[in-house]
């Protein structure tokens, strides 16, 4: 079968995880010419609650567009971790925001902890780019797209004025994780 690789970004509504998923899918599909599908689930209510965005990347056309067994998962909140870490495949990876996910999900996967939100706030200066920090981190963790492809996709998405900010966020996330897992 194909090289199907499944990623999940989870957290709370409004944390920009859908955008993170889209950028990753664009990096894969547009920059790198792979196949990619991005999808999301709405919580039970229109607003609030746990939210997730999934990206499937493959060298072949992708059939089932939702995750079946997740290769790598990001969780920014406890609720998201509780709800969405289930589904990580044996040997998969989980990246959690160490400030917000205190009860670490247990399972046959590798968990990487890193204070994503506070990094965005304190090192980049804008909490709003936490999703891009997370994106950089996930790219570093998984290597599913190249660092450059990810950066290019970030640049293509954000308004001119915010390019530098976002590049910094992306690269910070990327490097922090690289050094963590090195």
């Amino acid at each position: 079968m194909s090289s199907r690789y499944e990623l999940r970004f989870s957290g709370a509504g409004g944390q920009g995880l859908i955008t993170a998923g889209i950028i990753l899918a664009e990096a894969a599909a547009i920059v790198e010419g792979q196949h990619a599908v991005q999808s999301q689930s709405y919580g039970p209510e229109a607003r609030g609650g746990a939210s997730k965005s999934e990206v499937i990347i493959s060298n072949e056309p992708i059939d089932y567009p939702k995750a079946t067994s997740v290769d790598a998962c990001l969780a920014l909140t406890q609720e998201a971790a509780d709800k969405y870490a289930i589904g990580i495949k044996p040997g998969g990876m989980l990246l959690i925001d160490s400030d917000f996910v205190k009860r670490e999900p247990q399972g046959d996967f590798k968990t990487v902890k890193f204070p994503i939100i506070s990094t965005a706030k304190n090192e980049i200066g804008r909490e709003i780019v936490a999703n891009v920090v997370a994106l950089g981190a996930m790219v570093a963790l998984t290597g599913i797209v190249s660092r450059e492809a990810g950066e290019q996709a970030v640049i293509a998405r954000v308004p001119e004025a915010f390019i530098e900010l976002n590049k910094k966020a992306y690269n910070t996330g990327y490097e922090k994780i690289k050094s963590l897992i090195a």
Partner: protein, 271 residues
């Protein structure tokens, strides 16, 4: 001194689903105070809504509550009121629900002068579906389906209601919280169709897109545009430019619909 909202709220339903700063919560509180003022009985009161953020209101309050289909609240409510005229019937809902898809039921309820109180939460946008323009979105404002600005003129809801025959028409804003309950209470006491428009805000689907920096900014605008009818009488057209009148805008006495129908019954029974 704090008003005891809990007595009218269904237990365990808070926090509600509305976004931070959404005006609907303020109106809901005013509605409950008005119901309390007028001494409506829970068992004897029906609150009917359509679909939209505003229309989620009935789910929180402990009455006979009916969350219908988009735009149809007034028609469902008419069925309830006709079938059981002794009940107190309220309709609540958004601008889209009330005067876009629901416009026909709205004007016909006004025409019939059926004894209902219609609280229209006008946040001048379709909030629930993510910010498409409504018939109340200001011309040239931004909405998700007016990326170049909204070409549509707006409905003046009170003017429409009056044109259609409503016998009690009032307006206020979410900023004017103390007026909300007073006007709704006046509407509840009025025999016939009472329409109370409350201008409130949708920071999520309207505010951001239209460059309001915060909920507070939006509230300030409500404060600024409101002019009580009495005050307006002394103002020039220039001064009134961009303002909206608040207070009771229209009130008259006309036979109420269910009472008219009682006459039909009397005639049928040969009285």
């Amino acid at each position: 001194m704090a008003f005891d909202y809990e007595q009218y709220l269904r237990p365990g339903k808070l926090p509600h689903i509305w976004c931070p700063g959404c005006g609907h919560g303020i109106v809901m509180k005013g509605l409950l105070r008005a119901i309390d003022t007028c001494g409506l009985e829970k068992n004897n009161t029906a609150i009917v809504s359509g679909i939209g953020c505003a229309s989620r209101l009935p789910g929180y309050v402990d009455f006979n509550t009916l969350h219908t289909a988009h735009g149809r609240a007034a028609a469902f409510a008419t069925g309830i009121k006709m079938a059981k005229p002794e009940m107190d019937v309220l309709v609540v809902g958004g601008d889209g629900d009330g005067v876009a898809i629901g416009g026909n039921h709205f004007i016909h309820a006004c025409r019939r002068n059926i004894d209902m109180t219609y609280v229209l939460l006008n946040n001048y946008i379709y909030g629930m579906t993510g910010g498409q323009f409504s018939p109340c979105t200001p011309t040239w404002a931004k909405a998700s389906t007016t990326p170049y600005g909204n070409p549509d003129p707006i409905f003046d809801v009170p003017k429409l209601a009056i044109g259609a025959g409503a016998t009690f028409v009032a307006r206020t804003t979410a900023f004017h919280a103390t007026q909300i309950d007073k006007l709704i209470a006046a509407g509840l006491r009025h025999k016939g169709m009472a329409v109370i428009e409350v201008l409130d805000d949708c920071p999520t689907a309207y505010g951001r897109r239209n460059k309001f920096r915060s909920v507070v900014d939006m509230m300030k605008r409500l404060k600024e545009i409101a002019v009580p009818v009495k005050a307006a009488a002394h103002m020039t057209p220039e001064q009134l430019e961009g303002k909206v009148l608040t207070g009771i805008l229209h009130q008259e006495e006309r036979p109420e619909y269910c009472e008219q129908y009682q006459q039909v019954i009397a005639r049928a029974q040969g009285a």
